[in-house]
């Protein structure tokens, strides 16, 4: 393993943890999504630090970043850009929307209309934008952190399953523990800390890291475990539908990048278990609420039902 590049990664983790307090697991998951070249959905109540995390990440990762605050009147053109007539040159020219960046923070994505949502999500999936017959590639790497309020809050358009599937991981931040909260109260405004923060990674390093992650070894024993997990979600009567092959691949790539973050060049079942709830909770639906009655999320419940070895 390339020690130097790994060192940058560890430094970024430290930096992020100093800004978003008491959430090391969630921060590691967020970085996991970046390394796996996937998008991240943060779902939580307002004021839990979603935006702080996203802003801190964009800063630390050293990527060009944009932010779209979604409201119900945001139009697709507000996201991807618009073609306007330039009177000086007498030509139509394309004004790139905020989506043309490396790191996009899509705030409160479920407050906008499905039309605008799909404009963003299609771009996320394809990595390019097509307007008026012209296809324009988005910069590489392209990474979206979307935040959303829990869908039962008022004024929301819940994302359909097909759209949720585009996010590699979905995490929740939750309340901080009391020590972290005390530190937060003492140290004051995060915004200043973020603007003071220096970029640790850059586009090149991130590309290199993503390449390293793709080289992580996966044994047959681990694939057996993954397939057992998928098989269980498909067979279980308590789940509406099972994990799709794309979902399973998402689990694998997230597990690989988690293994890399944990300092291994091979994946062990514990890596899969660490990312499994975040990778599958938004892809599975609990049929009867029976799985949920165990107080575990759907993904975590699936983990308890499948034997790791054998």
């Amino acid at each position: 393993m390339d020690v130097e590049i790994k060192q940058y990664l560890d430094d970024s983790l430290v930096a992020l943890n100093s800004i978003v307090l008491g959430k090391p697991g969630e921060i590691k998951l967020a970085l996991t999504a970046v390394l796996a070249a996937g998008h991240l959905l943060i779902e939580d109540l307002p004021g839990m630090g979603k935006t702080t995390l996203a802003q801190a990440m964009s800063k630390v990762l050293g990527l060009t970043h944009q932010r779209i605050q979604f409201t119900s009147d945001v139009l697709p053109s507000d996201v991807v850009g618009v073609t306007v007539f330039n009177q000086h040159s007498g030509e139509f020219s394309f004004h790139e929307g905020p989506i043309f960046c490396n790191f996009l923070l899509a705030d409160e994505i479920n407050r906008t209309t499905p039309k605008s949502q799909s404009a963003l999500l299609e771009a996320m999936e394809e990595g390019k934008v097509t307007t008026e017959g012209v296809t324009r590639a988005l910069p590489e790497p392209f990474f979206v952190i979307a935040t959303q309020n829990p869908s039962h809050q008022t004024g929301t358009y819940p994302l359909p399953e097909s759209q949720l599937d585009r996010f590699l991981l979905r995490i929740q931040l939750g309340y901080p523990d009391s020590d972290s909260e005390r530190t937060l109260l003492k140290s004051g405004n995060r915004r200043n800390m973020i603007s003071d923060c220096e970029a640790i990674l850059d586009v090149e390093k991130i590309k290199l890291l993503q390449q390293r992650v793709s080289q992580i070894r996966v044994s047959d024993a681990l694939l057996d475990y993954l397939q057992r997990l998928a098989e269980f979600t498909r067979q279980s009567e308590l789940l509406h539908y099972g994990l799709s092959p794309r979902g399973l691949m998402a689990v694998l790539s997230a597990a690989k990048s988690w293994a890399y973050l944990s300092g291994r060049d091979y994946v062990i079942p514990e890596d899969v278990q660490a990312i499994f709830p975040a990778a599958t909770d938004h892809r599975l639906r609990d049929q009867s609420g029976k799985a949920a009655s165990t107080l575990l999320s759907t993904g975590a419940w699936v983990l308890t039902q499948v034997d790791v070895i054998n």
Binding site: S219, A221, R264, P269, E270, V306
Partner: protein
């Protein structure tokens, strides 16, 4: 957190222990139950981590106290009870040191032993079924210890145990049928013979009515061909000749010791027997009575078994009191003539009465005798007297004192078979007719399922025999004169009006005869018990050789031993083939098996792997819980993960197995 597998094993161990101990504790002093209960409770508290294992000194005190208790209770160690008590107590105390796998195995082994001790007390069909269930539960405990897989439904061990036992059935049958049966080389007496209800060798007026409150089985009789009518089912037990004014008893003189056994020189009285009808053949399977006499229909032929003697009073006597269930084949000629020549001394003997007492009866007998010269007519007249006067057949006769015969015949006139037989015989003797009282059973219930007659204690009966010139001894049943339904339909019908049949037993299934299906069930259970007693419990060396000589002429005990060994080897061979074939079907990879072996080892120590626990998490937990082994555990986990997930070819499965072996060795060493 204690593992679920350990919970399953412990739960089944406790269930099995309760089941195994319950019937034994009922037979033992109460304090043993208390000790057993406390041990079980303590073990549950340990499991819940609300208590700890006792220190060795406390255990030593326990052992000492229980030993002292056993000695105080029984005073001597020369009988079986204190030893069984010791087994029960140690079995319970073992719970308090079930720390290691070895201890669990010992406890389970003890459990099997305790289950076997049930048979020292009861070998009946139902009790055997119960013991079988106990064995099943103990085996479930054993399976529970071995559970590695995380599928921990609590019923799983029981299912597996049932399958295991089912698989063992062929071997069991081979051993049962073929294993040479030798008489025990030694036996430890059981202290205190159990109280047995049954016919005794004394009869006071009314003493039989106590018997009729018991539904205990006396014997079962299976007839080879046709069944005799209920009027001929007089099962003679023994003859009572001595009367002291209140009690009829057996003579102790030389008459009775004059037994004829087959193969011996025939005594003179044996020639004075005349068979008139073709003898019926039947087999009697008799429950233990603690007495020597056997019950047969008259006139019984000498038995082929040298242990059974025929007395001069035409009943069979066993060579020793019947402590275990015995079966014997006999023949009886239902029509016969016996002792047509009565010597002067015998005649005098059968006329003996107390010098005085019961004057009213004596004069009544004398009057009858004077009125008729024919002895048989005198007897008929007495029977007519019973029939015509206001005599009642009842189980509640009221107490008679003093001149009991007079009181009964001329005052109370309420009585049971004992009253009638006693007073009838008295009248006969007073009238100068040689007479004697016979006690035994009358009737019995035919079980159509098992095709046998079942005689219970409430079928106990007493009647008379009188000697008539030219006819010999003739049976006279005065009860039949008063209550003919007693003989024809059985005692229950005779007492229907009074409702006193088995009145002391609150709920008894014999009372539920109104329900046809219940009767059917009762017959079925009875038949099963009968088959069990005849073919399983009663499978003795003789029966074994008889059975096997059907297939192998002239088979010897030595041949049996060879045959047993041969079948055992053959069966093991078959088993080996089956096992070897099924190995192919396993889909586990070698490396998975290695890890399963590792987690099985720690599961036995009480730290099973949870199903969803990955190897790294599991080993971390183990290392935390067993710091003494942490290094070895971590090394194993490192190598295992390197082999299984990092695909490191330098680590061989064999090396991993060696590590497990090393762990095993370390665990076997006693904890210092």
């Amino acid at each position: 957190m204690t593992g679920l597998a350990a919970r399953n094993a412990l739960a089944w161990m406790l269930v099995a222990q309760v089941a195994v101990l319950a019937p034994m504790l009922l037979r033992f002093p109460w304090w043993i139950s208390v000790v057993c209960f406390c041990c079980g409770l303590w073990r549950v508290l340990i499991y819940q981590q609300r208590s700890t294992y006792p220190h060795w000194s406390i255990k030593a005190i326990f052992v000492f106290l229980t030993l002292a208790g056993l000695l105080l209770q029984w005073k001597s160690l020369l009988s079986l009870e204190p030893w069984i008590g010791l087994l029960l107590l140690m079995f319970s105390l073992k719970l308090l040191e079930m720390q290691r796998v070895r201890d669990v195995y010992q406890a389970i082994l003890l459990g099997y032993f305790v289950a076997l001790t049930h048979f020292l007390y009861d070998q009946s069909f139902l009790s055997s079924c119960y013991t079988f269930a106990c064995v099943l539960m103990i085996t479930a405990g054993l399976v529970g210890c071995q559970q590695v897989r995380a599928d921990l439904r609590p019923w799983l061990p029981l299912q597996k145990a049932a399958v295991l036992i089912f698989q063992a059935v062929p071997l069991m049958l081979v051993f049962f049928v073929l294993f040479p049966r030798l008489a025990p080389l030694w036996s430890i007496p059981q202290a205190g013979s159990m109280a047995v209800t049954g016919i005794s060798d004394q009869m006071r007026m009314g003493s039989i009515s106590e018997l009729t409150q018991s539904s205990k089985l006396a014997f079962r009789a299976t007839f080879a061909d046709r069944l005799p009518g209920s009027q001929s089912l007089y099962w003679r037990g023994l003859v009572l000749n001595e009367f002291d004014g209140e009690t009829w008893s057996r003579q102790s003189s030389s008459h009775n010791s004059n037994l004829y056994r087959s193969g011996r020189r025939a005594p003179q009285w044996l020639s004075d027997r005349e068979v008139i009808s073709e003898p019926v053949r039947y087999r009697i399977l008799m429950e233990p009575s603690q007495q020597k006499w056997l019950f047969t229909l008259p006139m019984v032929m000498p038995a082929a078994n040298w242990k059974i003697g025929l007395s001069s009073e035409q009943h069979l006597v066993f060579s020793e009191p019947i402590r275990n269930r015995i079966g014997f084949n006999v023949q009886s000629a239902l029509r016969y003539r016996v002792d047509t020549n009565l010597s002067q001394s015998e005649r005098a003997y059968y006329l003996r009465l107390p010098a005085e007492g019961n004057p009213q009866s004596r004069s009544f007998a004398r009057r009858l005798n004077e009125s008729s010269a024919d002895k048989q007519a005198v007897a008929e007249a007495v029977l007519a007297f019973f029939r015509q006067e206001q005599f009642y057949y009842t189980l509640r006769p009221g107490r008679l004192e003093g001149e009991t015969i007079d009181q009964f015949l001329f005052a109370s006139r309420r009585g049971f078979c004992g009253h009638f037989a006693s007073s009838f015989t008295f009248l006969m003797r007073a009238a100068g007719i040689p007479a004697r009282v016979v006690v035994g059973y009358q009737g019995g219930e035919f079980n159509p399922v098992g095709n046998y007659i079942e005689v219970r204690q409430f079928d106990a009966h007493a009647w008379s025999e009188i000697w008539l010139q030219g006819l010999g001894w003739v049976r006279m049943d005065p009860t039949a004169a008063v209550a003919p339904e007693r003989i024809e339909l059985g005692i229950e019908a005779a007492l229907q009006e009074e409702g006193s049949f088995l009145e002391n037993i609150p709920v008894f299934w014999l009372k539920l005869r109104g329900f046809a299906w219940l009767t059917e069930v009762r017959f079925q259970i009875g038949a099963w018990s009968h088959y069990w007693n005849s073919f399983v419990v009663g499978y003795d060396p003789v029966m074994q050789l008889n059975l096997l000589s059907r297939f192998w002429e002239g088979i010897q005990i030595q041949d049996l031993a060879h045959l047993t060994l041969l079948s055992f080897v053959a069966m093991m061979f078959l088993l080996a083939i089956v096992l070897l074939r099924s190995v192919k079907g396993r889909h586990y990879s070698e490396i998975v098996l290695v890890f399963n072996e590792f987690s099985a080892l720690f599961a036995l120590l009480g730290y099973p792997r949870l199903k969803h626990e990955g190897p790294l998490d599991y080993c971390h937990r183990l290392a935390l819980q067993r710091p003494d082994l942490a290094e070895a555990i971590n090394e194993f986990s490192e190598h295992y993960i390197a082999r299984s997930y990092a695909g490191d070819p330098a680590i061989s499965v064999k090396a991993l197995k060696r590590r497990i072996f090393g762990l095993r060795l370390r665990l076997l060493k006693p904890v210092s």
